[in-house]
Each structure stands twice: as structure tokens, then as C-alpha cells.
């Protein structure tokens, strides 16, 4: 506990400074022209001093991407994306481009920070306010890294990993999500700019949540983020990405890829809080969050657990999945997806049972308000060799108002007679009697909705690391503001 407290303090100290430049690879202030072609990819690769094999991999992905159709099966609707009308490489925004003080920041954004109880200085950082460097951030980053290095944990940006740990990257990059996986993941493979890399060596329990650390790191990872986490035999790591506070962001399309690899007896817990800009109440603007996340339980008795709280983005297209290859391996997916106004979410998971006695649990809570649509889409697949595989799935949907939609699309494919698959689903409307009961006890409509929805999501929220659970609860309330009355 002491170590965690210390960590949090350090992170806060860092958050007050200009930490981001201590972590992200140095990039000179130039920008590639608009659009994507092989020259741009060569440019990105050269900027990062990448080895040839990685450039080749990117180009292979790019050539494949050109021939790929857009995935069209999801229940989301948006105009075609003009991929040539975007910048694929630009230096991180310098401070001079940002607002000069909080006075220049959208008051709506500030109101949200206020409600989440985010300290003023961190608000400035999140909103991209130019803050004077008062602090040698590099030294803190070093202390941090030292602590991890003592136990042999590698935690760095993807660019640094390519440079310093090329063998690990080469062995595992694309081994869970191949470059040809799907249109969005393939685009990422061709054009990813940075991301995070974690390697936890044999038998090591990572001494800290790799969460708050990331919260700082996240500022500049950009739209094509690539994350790779490898937990070697008998190791454990808990990783939290994202932030409960909305961040200033000008990229509309986010096509990230996350790959997890758990070897024998290893465990990875990956938690996400996603609160990107959802667009305004008329459905104008907002982020397209098209993310491919997949974990491979390669080793025996390994375990991968995904927990996600998705409240932001105009469109969410995301299916964190587990490939349960090792015998007795365990996959878990806990999800809360909240949509309001005109947001669209199509999210769920795939549990692929390959090894013997593999088991998976899926708990998905979808909450739809306003004119939004929330879809759970999931696949449970039991391969012929997966003797004794088990799955339990529970999908609950809650509707607020009568202009929104909740949909559940479960796919089950069982090719082994000994497999056991359970699926439960419920759909309910938030009850007028529950609302009245809460209001009679003094809660406003918004407080009542927040309380009832938090109760509805409890099983998922309690899976989050402690320090984020409280913020996530507040976020649930905030994201549903204006959904009643």
C-alpha cells in the first residue's frame, strides 16, 4: 500500500509538470503531408529509426489494407471515412498551440472536471493548457523506471521498445492481432505512431498498477496507438488505460490495437475507462473509436481479464477478446457501455476456447439513453479440442427514455460435446417507481439516475482498480446528464 501511495504522489507531482516530454520519443517539429501512401509510411518509420523488418511489416500491412473492405456488420452508422483527408504523422502539439489558461477552455469541459474532482493543475494538463515547466520530469520518470527495473519489468513507449528490445517486439508484435486482421487494425499496423510496451519477466508480480503512470503518458499517443503487453511465466500485471476525464483531442478516428500475451501461469488484468469526446447533443462531432483488443492465453493456467467502462466517443467499435489456448486458461470480460444523445456503441467480446478445461466469464451491461443505440455483440466459440470448456455470459440492458435502443447479439459455436455454455440476458427500463422512490428520499432526477445505473453496473465497476472505481462511478452519472426530464 505504501508503495502505491508513494506512486500516486509521484505521479501527481509529475502531472503538475510537463511530464509528457520526458516519456514520448523525441520528435522534431515537422509534419508529413496529408493522406496515406507508402512514402508516408517510410517517413514515419524513418522518423522513428525503425529497423527494416518493421518497415517491411508496415508496408505489408498497408498494401493489404488497400484491398480490404470496411467491416460492415456492426450496428453503427456513419458516412464513409476519407482516409486521405487526415494527417498520419505530425509532431505532438506544442504548448503554444493550446489554450493559454483555463479561461480559454470550453466551460462544459471544466464543469465535468469539477464534478470528477480533478485537481486544478491536472485539469490544465488534460485540457492542454500551456503550463510552465517547473519540474525536471525526466528525473522522476527515471526513478519510476528504476523501481520497475529492479524487478526486471520493462515499461516504455513502443518506439523505445523497438529500439531497446527489438527481439521481444519482433517476436510478439502482430502475434495476437495479425497485420491482416481487420481494416482498422491493419491501418494501425501500417501507420501506428506510438503506444506502450510492457514485459513482465518470469515469476514477477509487477509491484505497481501500471495505471496512473499511463494516465500521463496518454497525452500524446495519438490516434493510432499500439500496445503490447507480455506476461512471462508465473507473472502478474495490472494495467489501466485511459482516463475518466475527457481529453482535448482533435483526431476523429482512433484505430488502436492492443495485444496481450500471457504465458504459463501468468495473469494480465487490463482495465479501460474510455471517455473520449462523444459529440454534442445533436450528434455533431465526436470520436470514432475503432479499437482491436485481443489477448492470448498461450500458457497453461494463464488468465486474461478485460474490464472496460465505455462512456465516450460518438461511435465505439470494440471487442476485447481472449484466445484461450493453454489448458485451464481463463478469460474474463466485464463491460459497461453507456450511450447518450446520438452515441452508438457496438461492443462485446470473443472467447475462443482451444485448450482443455478453459473457462470464460462475460458480464456486459449496456445502458442507453437519449437517441442512442447500444449493442452487445459477442462470440463464444468452443473448438473440437476444448474438452470441458465452460462459459457463463450475462448481458443486461437498461433503457432510459423511449427513443433509445439496446440490442444483444450473442453468437455461440460449440464443437465439443463436453462444452457448457450459459447465456442470460435481460432488458429493462429504468423504473418510474425507482425514480420516484429516490426522489422522495431527496435525490434529484440526475442523482437518482446515477445511483440506479451505478447499482446496475456494480458487478463490473467492482472489477476496476480501487482508485479508479470511485471516479468511474461519478463518470457514470455525468455521462447520463440530461437523459431524463
Amino acid at each position: 500500500m505504501a508503495a502505491v501511495t508513494e506512486t500516486v504522489e509521484q505521479v501527481q507531482a509529475v502531472a503538475d509538470g510537463k511530464y509528457k516530454y520526458g516519456f514520448v520519443t523525441d520528435i522534431e517539429a515537422d509534419t508529413a503531408p496529408k493522406g496515406l501512401n507508402e512514402d508516408i509510411i517510410r517517413f514515419i518509420s524513418a522518423k522513428k529509426n525503425e529497423p527494416e523488418w518493421l518497415l517491411d511489416w508496415r508496408l505489408k500491412a498497408y498494401r493489404h489494407w488497400l484491398k480490404m473492405p470496411e467491416p460492415e456488420w456492426a450496428m453503427v452508422d456513419f458516412p464513409p471515412i476519407d482516409y486521405q483527408d487526415a494527417y498520419y504523422y505530425s509532431a505532438p502539439k506544442s504548448d503554444t498551440d493550446g489554450p493559454k489558461s483555463l479561461d480559454e477552455v470550453d466551460p462544459e469541459l471544466l464543469r465535468t472536471y469539477e464534478k470528477l474532482g480533478i485537481p486544478l493543475q491536472e485539469q490544465e494538463r488534460l485540457a492542454g493548457v500551456a503550463v510552465d515547466a517547473v519540474f525536471d520530469s525526466v528525473s522522476v520518470a527515471t526513478t519510476y523506471k528504476k523501481k520497475l527495473e529492479e524487478v526486471g519489468v520493462i515499461f516504455c513507449s513502443m518506439s523505445e521498445a523497438v529500439e531497446n528490445h527489438p527481439d521481444l517486439v519482433r517476436e510478439y508484435l502482430g502475434s495476437v492481432v495479425p497485420y491482416s486482421d481487420n481494416k482498422h487494425a491493419t491501418l494501425n499496423s501500417a501507420a501506428f505512431t506510438d503506444g506502450s510496451f510492457v514485459y513482465v519477466p518470469k515469476g514477477v508480480r509487477c509491484p505497481m498498477e501500471l495505471s496512473t503512470y499511463f494516465r500521463i503518458n496518454a497525452a500524446n499517443t495519438g490516434q493510432f496507438e499500439r500496445t503490447l503487453i507480455i506476461a512471462d511465466e508465473g507473472s502478474y500485471v495490472s494495467y489501466l488505460e485511459g482516463c475518466t476525464a475527457p481529453m482535448r483531442d482533435e483526431n476523429q478516428l482512433h484505430a488502436a490495437v492492443v495485444e496481450l500475451v500471457a504465458l504459463d501461469d501468468a495473469e494480465i488484468k487490463y482495465s479501460t475507462v474510455q471517455n473520449w469526446y462523444p459529440g454534442d447533443e445533436n450528434g455533431v462531432g465526436g470520436i470514432y473509436n475503432f479499437v482491436t483488443k485481443r489477448g492470448a492465453c498461450r500458457g497453461r493456467n494463464s488468465k486474461i481479464s478485460w474490464t472496460q467502462v465505455e462512456t465516450g466517443s460518438a461511435i465505439t467499435w470494440k471487442y476485447p477478446s481472449c484466445i484461450l489456448q493453454g489448458d485451464n486458461s481463463v478469460g474474463e470480460f466485464y463491460s459497461v457501455a453507456i450511450t447518450n444523445n446520438y452515441q452508438q456503441a457496438d461492443t462485446g467480446t470473443k472467447m475462443i476456447h482451444i485448450g482443455k478445461n478453459t473457462s470464460s466469464t462475460i458480464i456486459a451491461k449496456g445502458i442507453a439513453a437519449g437517441k442512442s443505440n447500444s449493442t452487445y455483440r459477442g462470440l463464444v466459440k468452443i473448438q473440437p479440442g476444448a474438452k470441458g470448456a465452460r462459459n457463463y455470459t450475462q448481458c443486461d440492458s437498461l433503457l432510459i427514455g423511449d427513443k433509445c435502443g439496446a440490442h444483444t447479439v450473442p453468437y455461440i459455436e460449440s464443437r465439443n460435446r463436453s462444452g457448457r455454455v450459459e447465456h442470460e440476458a435481460t432488458t429493462a427500463k429504468i423504473g418510474e417507481d425507482q425514480m420516484f422512490y429516490c426522489q422522495q428520499r431527496g435525490l434529484s432526477e440526475e442523482e437518482a439516475v446515477a445511483l440506479i445505473v451505478n447499482g446496475f453496473c456494480k458487478e463490473v465497476l467492482q472489477e476496476l482498480p480501487m482508485e479508479f472505481a470511485v471516479e468511474a462511478q461519478k463518470l457514470v452519472g455525468i455521462s447520463l446528464e440530461g437523459s431524463v426530464g
Partner: protein, 250 residues
């Protein structure tokens, strides 16, 4: 405390209350008795401000203010409490959390500071003890899987914690055996005081043996058909509601 004048209320186009007059002074306990369908629960919902109950005439003054102008949560903050006949389940929300959220919401509206976790816990434990509400019950989700008696005890606990000035108890005796009834009645009696008024709605006289009212009113066909002292309740118990034109519904 409460002054209802010529109150007319319509639900789904049908007039349920057809001119109610009722005045309750501070510290008084009034009982409303009446056959099923006479409008007893409607009256309690109108006082609490539930949607779907349209006031077509008359007025309600609470502490001199127009109660009908206030939102349900404003009424709660002003000290109006309704103990529900059928308490509502809120899955996933611990009773303790619910109590704390409610108390702090009310305190916030009243311009008071929120209680911290320790102060709150002390307050709840003290009130809970009186009502035989165990820590285990406080950890369980609000009313989910509660027995009839637990639900009603939980309602009275909420009342004790929120400390209202006007408490409306809607059929708080329904579904209780005699032991549970005593516990609930003791809890309610402990809250009687010169500054708190109560409106006790019941079908049976039994509850009024334990919560002895200052006045008893008979509600029938949307009107107050008769008012009297506590002896009126005994008379009704003996004769039933037949003289008010209702079928004996016992």
C-alpha cells in the same frame, strides 16, 4: 403544519379524490382509514408529488407554503417523508449507500454540510439498533430479497435518518405479523414529538392500537366521510366500512 383544502385529484382521467379537507397541527398524529379503492394511497402520492396524479382543484399548504409547486425532492428536503406501502427494490445499491446518498442530498438542499463516513455510520448504527436492522441488512441491496417485515423496518429506518417533519405512512402495517408490527410501531412512536406530524394510512384498526392517533378520518369514495377521535377506529373495527357504502373488504 399541513392544510389540505378541497383537494381534487384525477388519475388517468378518473377523479379519485373529490374534495378533501384536512388540517394537521404540529405534533399531531392523524390516521386515515378507509376501504380499498377509497383513495388513501392516492392522497399519499399527491403529498409526495408523484407523476401521473393530476390535481384539478384545491390546495395543499405545508408550513404555509404551496406544496404542489414543489418537486418531489424539494418536498423531501422540506421534511416530507413517505413510507411506501410497497418499498421499491434498487438492485446493486447497498442500503447503507442509499441512506447516505439520500441524507446528503437532503442536507445539501437544506444548505447543510454533508456528513463524513464516520459521522454517518454512527448515526445509522444508533437508529438501526432501535429497529433491529442489522449490519447485514444495511449491506444488502435496497429492499432486494427483503422480507415484508425487513422492508417496513427499512422504511422506518430511512425515516429516522432523514428526520422529517411530516411523515406519511402508507399501510405500514400491511404484511406484518404481530411481532414485526410492534417493532415498527415502536420505531414510529420513538419519532413522535411536538415538531413532527404524522399521517398514518391504514385499512385496519390494529396498527392504531400501537400508534395511537389524535384524530381518525374515514376516507370513502374520495371524500372524508367522517372524522373523530381514536375511538372512531374501534367503532370501525366493530362495524366495518359498510355504512360508508363499501363492500366489506377484510
Amino acid at each position: 403544519m399541513l392544510e389540505i383544502k378541497d383537494l381534487h385529484v384525477t388519475v388517468d382521467g378518473a377523479e379519485i379524490l373529490k374534495g378533501i379537507d384536512l388540517a394537521i397541527a404540529p405534533g399531531e398524529v392523524h390516521a386515515i382509514m378507509g376501504p380499498n379503492g377509497s383513495g388513501k394511497s392516492t392522497l399519499s402520492y399527491v403529498l409526495a408529488g408523484r407523476d401521473g396524479y393530476e390535481v384539478t382543484g384545491g390546495s395543499i399548504l405545508y408550513k404555509g407554503e404551496d406544496l404542489l409547486e414543489m418537486a418531489p425532492e424539494e418536498r423531501a428536503a422540506a421534511g416530507v417523508f413517505l413510507a411506501f406501502q410497497y418499498p421499491i427494490e434498487i438492485p446493486g445499491v447497498a442500503s447503507m449507500t442509499f441512506l447516505k446518498t439520500a441524507l446528503n442530498a437532503v442536507r445539501k438542499q437544506r444548505g447543510e454540510s454533508e456528513l463524513d463516513a464516520m459521522q454517518f455510520l454512527k448515526l445509522v448504527r444508533e437508529k438501526a439498533k432501535l429497529l433491529n436492522v442489522t449490519d447485514d441488512m444495511l449491506k444488502r441491496a435496497v429492499n432486494v430479497g427483503f422480507s415484508g417485515g425487513e422492508k417496513k423496518r427499512n422504511e422506518v429506518l430511512q425515516m429516522a435518518v432523514l428526520n422529517p417533519t411530516l411523515a406519511v405512512l402508507d399501510e405500514t402495517d400491511s404484511g406484518l405479523d404481530i411481532d414485526a408490527l410492534k417493532v415498527v410501531a415502536d420505531g414510529v412512536n420513538a419519532l413522535r414529538g411536538p415538531d413532527r406530524s404524522m399521517l398514518v394510512i391504514t385499512h385496519y384498526q390494529r396498527l392504531l392500537d400501537y400508534i395511537v392517533p389524535d384524530r381518525v378520518h374515514v376516507l370513502a369514495h374520495g371524500r372524508i366521510a367522517r372524522s373523530g377521535g381514536k375511538e372512531l377506529a374501534h367503532e370501525l373495527e366493530a362495524k366495518g366500512y359498510a355504512e360508508f357504502g363499501a363492500n366489506e373488504a377484510a
